[in-house]
């Protein structure tokens, strides 16, 4: 999430027309504490029972944990781009994500 914060202006236009929902199976209090501590500008979502994880087929089968996968959803509610897996350590991943956000109409 540090990369999302550090590139929030360039990739996500500081949230103008773009919303980032960062989803994990952590408790909401854990996510709130982490967001405050690191000053993350995104919205966190607590998917305790991996309901969203199952709907998007990103849940690890044997663990209550979601994989690192990104979906870009357009203003019409349709999936515009999928990065499965999202390689968070690769600079190219953020370049691809920024381009997908712009194509989807949010940037």
């Amino acid at each position: 999430m540090e990369a999302y914060r550090d590139q929030y202006a360039t990739i996500f236009k500081n949230g103008q027309g773009v919303t980032v929902l960062a989803i994990s199976t952590d408790e909401v209090s854990t996510l709130a504490d982490w967001a405050k501590e690191k000053d993350f500008p995104v919205t966190f979502v607590s998917d305790r029972d991996a309901v969203a994880g199952r709907a998007y087929d990103v849940k690890v089968p044997t663990l209550n944990v979601n994989r690192r996968v990104v979906f870009v959803v357009g203003p019409d509610g349709k999936v515009a781009h999928i990065m499965r897996p999202f390689r968070e350590l690769s600079a190219d991943a953020y370049t691809e994500l920024g381009a997908a956000v712009r194509r989807a109409g949010g940037g």
């Binding site: 996510l31 967001a35 690191k38 969203a52 087929d57 979601n66 990104v70 509610g77 515009a80």
Partner: protein
Amino acid sequence: MRGPAARDILIGMANHLQFLTAVLLLTVALPGGAQDAPPPGGPKVGEMAPDFELPGATRTGPSQTPVRLSDFRGQTVVIAFFPKARTGG
């Protein structure tokens, strides 16, 4: 005694070879090969993103109302699944 024992070993090896051959043939014959992972489910590009309504939080604290994906219609939404808080990326 050496004759029957050697014959038993040879028969055992032949059976083992037959088993390995059968496994190999099944692997090749099955669609996609048995070692291939199935394609991921979930929404595809161009399909509606499944809606969800779950507790949310920002750097100012837990949200008063749940986060519902459909509330963001008209905006681009980046849904970033990740394993656990305090992991890199």
